[in-house]
Amino acid sequence: MHTSIQRIQQTFSQASTVLSIIAAIVFVVSYIQLVVANVWSLPEANFNLRGSKAARRFSRQYGANDPKKGKENVALKFDLDADLSPLFNWNTKLVFAYLTATYDGKRDDIVNEITIWDQIITDKDDSHIKLKGANSKYSLYDVEESFRNRNATVKLHWNIQPHVGAKIYGSLDATKGSIKFPQLV
């Protein structure tokens, strides 16, 4: 601490050390708050499939590798009601919520998952998802030619991006979450 340069260096050095300790404390405290709020076992999301339709698409953007054969694309119409407000605490920057359908692949050990719909929630006031007659955000297609009328399970996943610390993942089961992909007419 003899010269001014030494004082600047030491003050800056200690400030950054203290800052990293604050960051660690903030993450640990906010994670404990999430555990206390029991966010990994939130009540089921209310999902209701209103309708679904399949169509053949011939564009590459719709996954058609062979423009002559085309690819089966599925669109869903659904209601969704889920309260994600417990995920918001002082360290939550945003919550990414996404609805997926999980279904078996060709072999028993393969499980496929596709995203139907997603949303970025930055405010606690918007954290109660209420969708009525929403359309699937993405056109759904499989690696195979068709979904072959298979059964799928719908789940609402969430992903907290905190101000400090690692991303935190979790999911909610959905009521009436067992759906069946439509058959291409």
Binding site: M1, S4, V18, H163
Partner: protein, 82 residues
Amino acid sequence: MEALRSTLEATIDFEGQKLSNLAKTRLLVLGAILSTITGFALGDVMIIWFMFAFVAGITMLLVVPPWPFFTQHPVQWQTPAY
């Protein structure tokens, strides 16, 4: 040139170094505790960073310049015998 170097170097005496070191540590730790509590109470992490940046700035201002209270005990050198 020598005068400019001396002004920028701004050396302080031993008692002053002890005092500035103590002030730096206590201000930063106290500021960290206060800003964390405030951020937690108001429910926003961003408050912590801005408040701590403010405290760190104040600490720099208080510790870095050679204030008079850092130069109250100059070293008494022995007078040369010859």
